[in-house]
């Protein structure tokens, strides 16, 4: 090193040399914790899980018992009816909870934006509250609310059904929300909707605030109603933020675990109707003790998430507003 070029550095005093050194390498040292931790707890586990998905292995038996089985874990999953059922459940609960989230959040955000500027902070905080509440707490509360004979929801529905004019709109019989195959998925979906509406309201509000006011003023000068400005100004200009919000819902819903796991129980509810793919993967690992099969399942889900995100990009993306900096 010294023999080559830099005579001046050689003559620098120790202090100055240390100074150069620490100045030069400080940024690398400062960012190194992330890369070290990611290597140990992020990259390595994922590569290990990829390796594992081609092995037959029960962790309880020890590392020596690992056996290479090729694609068998993947084909086993793909021919397992319960795996397909879990995908269907995930899709159904995902749609039943995903669509309403946005269909409710957009009008709510619009209403706050148009009519309640002053109370905006208070209202968004109120709607956001479920999002920062732990899923366990939420699930416990909703299990009592959904209770068949004595739950608050059924009591409310019974009351509404007894009203004179609109009574006919409501069920006359109590609904066994968590005990009847038909209602478990909507019940779980309702909780997810309740939890995430506020989150989406915040996203859409920030989108609404980015729309220039003069557009609305011009429209109202031309005699547009509120409904028309919503339809022809708000919705088209909300598209970029809609794309972000829908992408997040899509990715989150495909990985749904906590809500169904706690509301319907780790058994997945009556006839497995609330068994999502992540729940099934967790069960495969934790109860059946088959790490290889579970790892393969997580990669199948990963591929599905990637594919659907790409499809979503195709449909919704691209036409993003330019220069939104």
């Amino acid at each position: 090193m010294q023999a080559r070029a830099h005579p001046p550095t050689e003559r620098l005093p120790i202090g100055a040399r240390w100074n150069n050194f620490q100045r030069r390498y400080a940024p690398y040292i400062f960012i190194s914790p992330f890369f070290i931790l990611f290597a140990i707890f992020g990259l390595f586990p994922i590569l290990f899980s990829l390796y594992l998905s081609f092995q037959s292995w029960q962790p309880a038996a020890g590392l020596g018992e690992m056996k290479f089985v090729g694609w068998r874990n993947f084909t086993d999953n793909l021919t397992d009816p319960t795996f397909w059922q879990s995908l269907r459940n995930t899709a159904v609960i995902g749609i039943e909870s995903g669509l309403p989230q946005h269909l409710i959040a957009i009008p709510l955000a619009f209403a706050i934006h148009m009519a309640f500027k002053k109370a905006q902070g208070f209202l968004t905080a109120l709607y956001f509250l479920p999002y920062i509440t732990s899923v366990v707490a939420i699930a416990v509360i909703f299990v009592t609310i959904f209770s068949w004979q004595y739950g608050v929801l059924n009591a409310l529905l019974t009351f509404l059904a007894g009203l004179p004019v609109i009574g006919g709109l409501f069920p006359q019989e109590k609904i066994n929300w968590l005990g009847n195959r038909e209602f478990v998925q909507p019940a779980v979906a309702a909780v997810v909707v309740w939890r995430y509406v506020g989150w989406n309201v915040v996203l859409y509000l920030s989108g609404l605030q980015a729309i220039p006011k003069d557009l609305y003023e011009a429209a109202s000068v031309d005699g547009a109603t509120t409904g028309q400005s919503f339809r022809f100004i708000t919705l088209p200009l909300l598209r970029p933020i809609m794309f972000v919000a829908i992408t997040l819902t899509l990715i989150g819903n495909l990985q749904l675990f906590e809500e169904p796991y706690i509301i319907a129980g780790d058994s997945g509810g009556i006839g497995n109707v609330a068994l999502t793919t992540v729940m099934y993967m967790y069960r495969t690992y934790n109860f059946y003790g088959d790490a290889g099969l579970a790892a393969a399942m997580s990669w199948l889900l990963f591929v599905l998430i990637g594919a659907l995100t790409l499809v979503n990009n195709r449909i919704f993306g691209r036409e993003r507003l330019s220069g939104s900096d």
Binding site: F34, P45, A111, I132, Y285, S298, L301
Partner: protein
């Protein structure tokens, strides 16, 4: 909430007659939404003061009862609840303190230094945010087993100490809020690089640290899947896990359970009342700025 009388001032914006109708529509919509949002919390508090048999009667109770003390005793019989709350608190504090340190340090480096590979390394940091967390469930459990970290809190706070999200957040803030000249001046004064971080950068990062701290704390406090994989006994359970284990018992004491739920939710509501804006900004910044 105050002023249904205001629409007159809006007449210039849209033709008269239309605005009041839509404003009433907005009020109705927001009120129904608010009611549905708040009602479950209200029933949580009401049920926390009732015994099991009162909760499940017709009609269900809609006002507070006087069973809170016996619910409390029953809760403590089923789980060492204060211990569980402490476990949650300890975990959240460790996660928050370490995250604030490592993320601000890395955020400072990415924002204030020009070094070889900076852009590439920062895109790697951002790219890790795209990895779906479910991919990591099985290997996470296996690695913690291998490390012997099962049933220890560090299994949950060590891996996330330098989170990509936190680094992103801190870099954005430091890059936009702190002038580079300050760093240069400190350097000329002979401060070491870490000294600059500690004496110049850190004191000026207050708002961003508060936001990141709140987000980290709440995510840790509410985490369920992580502790579910790591903790195996009543003594090490965090509060959500303890509540879940009570719910699993055959004769669930719903009153006691509801009281426990209320005790875990109340601290969050208190924090939220004081820092809602900051918390909401922090939690959604990944989605909005990314």
């Amino acid at each position: 909430m105050a002023a249904p009388a205001r629409p007159t001032t809006h007449v210039t914006r849209a033709r008269a007659g239309r605005v009041p109708m839509s404003r009433w529509g907005a009020i109705l919509l927001l009120a129904i939404g608010a009611l549905i949002t708040v009602a479950p919390f209200y029933f949580m508090f009401v049920f926390a003061t009732h015994g099991r048999s009162e909760i499940f009667q017709l009609p269900p109770p809609v006002w507070f009862g006087d069973n809170a003390t016996s619910n409390y005793q029953s809760l403590l019989e089923r789980t060492p609840f204060w211990r569980n709350l402490w476990n949650s608190l300890y975990l959240a504090i460790m996660a928050t303190v370490t995250t604030l340190f490592f993320c601000s340090l890395a955020g400072y480096a990415f924002a204030m230094y020009s070094f070889k590979g900076r852009e590439l390394l920062f895109s790697i940091v951002l790219a890790t945010l795209l990895i779906p967390s479910t991919l990591n469930i099985v290997p996470f459990a296996l690695i913690m087993q291998a490390l012997g970290w099962i049933d220890t809190p560090r299994a949950l706070w060590v891996p996330g100490m330098a989170s990509a999200f936190g680094i992103f957040l801190m870099r954005q803030y430091i890059g936009s809020a702190i002038p580079r000249e300050l760093v240069e001046a400190a350097r000329i004064d002979g401060s070491s690089e870490f000294g600059i971080y500690r004496r110049v950068i850190l004191p000026l990062c207050g708002p961003a640290l508060a936001t990141l701290g709140l987000v980290t704390f709440i995510n840790s406090w509410n985490n369920f899947l992580g502790p579910l994989i790591i903790f195996r006994s009543n003594e090490t359970y965090t509060a959500p896990l303890a509540l879940r284990s009570i719910q699993g018992l055959v004769n669930t004491d719903w009153g006691a359970l509801m009281l426990g739920v209320a005790l875990t939710v109340v601290p969050l509501i208190v924090v939220f009342v004081f820092a809602a804006r900051q918390l909401i900004d922090g939690l959604t910044s990944g989605a909005l700025k990314g």
